[in-house]
Symmetry: C4
Subunit: 209 residues, 4 copies
């Protein structure tokens, strides 16, 4: 299965580059494959990866298989990806540097909140009339230093499938890669909607007709 | 013909994904094929469908043929698609979650209205000097619960080829798939134009030179 | 040569669809081929044309060759395209329904004017310090009724390579298809720049440091 | 190696065209290949170049090899590209006409400055808490006349990997083509972020929580 997963990660990364989520080598995706997780290398052009560039890591982060190119290291997001996998049983985690995810963190304090938008229904556990809340954690100088704050947010918000990182981006997950990607697209839409609504002077939390 | 129609739906869905109309498994398209209608499954990635994933339904909604994958269900939009097909003799219906369609519903009360834009001429029955009106219905918690309000709007607005759904998106149709797609692109342009004009402080209804 | 020109028109039309210039069957391009002009049919999806769909017309507008499909008619823009060809010796003319071209006509009265932008240098005859002026003519109910106003604007503005049409779009030309496309891209940039500058409160005509 | 570099330049130029950096024949890229530099021709459509169109120049600007087409001249950016190569040992230089790079020069006086954004970490030598500064030089009527001002800015800002040109665009470099492209994508994100933040009324220089 790992071969297919490796190709899939390269394919999805090209799609995400087209969406503006992984420019400048930022952002990424991991997919769980049984008791292992396939992750991309750190600091590479995400739209130009090939299956042979991938790492396989265990659920405790230990490297199981690595690419032939000895200069490569596993993505710095790995410890963060593993938080969602181990605490939420995620089958895939996407990290996006989307402009709208970043901008959304500038418009809200500790929680992004939006309600009464159809795309909220695309997030597991949420209906149209619900207020979708996404915790926002502060950014740190090094990506690995985010792990504790991410774990804390995941534990404090048991129904979330995403955590925003201030002035940085967002981590999104789902029970498999399809649900993680669907979540990422729905959250992206909602972050953008919040920015557009702010520009148009419309509140993001519906107050009634 | 159904084989071609199935491929065509997959092809158009990829185009619509590129336009941002069907992200997060939302939105979709159906095409009439004689006395049947070809529809996509519910909740799947619209840009990654294959012809074998399609359903064929009768004009009363009964499933005629279904994909081998037993987990798939026909699109939740099916009952809405059939309203335009049965009440307006539509040959194809497109449901878009476009950000601009959604945003347009935030700028108007019960009717979207715009006039004096060349792209209005792309909508059947409208000329450059006409005011194009699109009814806006309120969203519901479940997509199938929209059917009555959609039918009501179609009957009250006999010259419309689209119905907006508040905080959700739009349903657009035409007498065949080419006209439905042309309509969808023209409406999309007009919804976006309304948002851009609002930002620039320009009224969407022309009041004279 | 006509075969190559026909393929080229299809290829360019796909590019222009991706740029948002020819959605909803609007907009188009013609290329001169000796004493004839190759034009696309009216009202077709511009990104899905094939070389066999093209018409060849004489410089007086008479149809020389036509596609096998008898339902097709030459583009309604043909009489407008011929104005630039006959009055300016244009080798190609592009008609774009770009949102930014349309929006630019809402921000200016009878003339679009912008200065001190590098991309102005991409327009034949203009330097960085020049003020680029593009005449704006009023739209008409039928595209063919624009011909007189377009001719008048071309004669009154002998140094322009484009004419904007209010609430509609723009006609752009050049001495061959490469220069016409380069002009179209530079004008598109400048129309968008004007919209962005207006939003940011920056005048489009530079008043000095 | 030169053959590969030539193909790579064509490939990257197509990507940059898709990003809106090199429309209207503007912008470009050069890549160092040993003691030579491969540059594209001046004034050509950057997304339609082929490897045979490339020039090879020496580090003093002398043409070493040229394309068969005698009408072609080396990019007008060549003397500017060589400044970054000779003064900073750059392995590749990218010149972008991005709308956001241009717009950023309208929002700042002599220096673009932004802080506390994750994408700053993508610029060599900068961390999340640093204020990234990019010098802005004034544009000139002819591209080659920018060389002295560019050299001056490079010498005055020893830690910069980019120089903005007012009302024009940006020059970005890196020690090889991958780092130059990564830099270009990160700067692009930061210029756009500054524009978006300005629109939302958020300062680009973080003043503390």
């Amino acid at each position: 299965m790992a071969d297919d997963v490796r190709s899939l990660i390269c394919d999805l990364a090209r799609t995400f580059y087209g969406l503006g989520w992984v420019s400048g080598t930022g952002g990424g995706i991991c997919i769980r494959d049984g008791e292992h997780v396939v992750v991309a290398p750190s600091g590479v052009q995400k739209e130009r990866m090939s299956p042979g560039d991938m790492f396989t890591i265990a659920l405790d982060g230990a490297v199981v298989t690595r690419p032939a190119n000895e200069k490569l290291h596993p993505s710095e997001c790995s410890s963060l990806f593993l938080k969602a996998i181990n605490l939420r049983n995620a089958g895939a985690v996407i990290h996006s540097h989307s402009m709208y995810a970043m901008a959304a963190t500038l418009l809200f304090d500790s929680e992004f909140a939006i309600s009464h938008l159809e795309m909220i229904k695309g997030i597991q556990g949420y209906g149209y009339h619900d207020t979708l809340v996404v915790p926002i954690i502060d950014n740190t100088a090094r990506e690995c230093d985010l792990a504790d704050a991410l774990e804390d947010a995941i534990l404090r918000y048991p129904s979330t499938s995403a955590v925003l990182v201030r002035r940085h981006g967002v981590y999104v997950w789902g029970s498999d890669w399809v649900r993680a990607k669907t979540h990422a697209e729905c959250y992206e839409y909602l972050f953008r909607a919040a920015v557009e609504m702010r520009r148009l002077g419309i509140p993001t939390r519906f107050e009634g007709a």
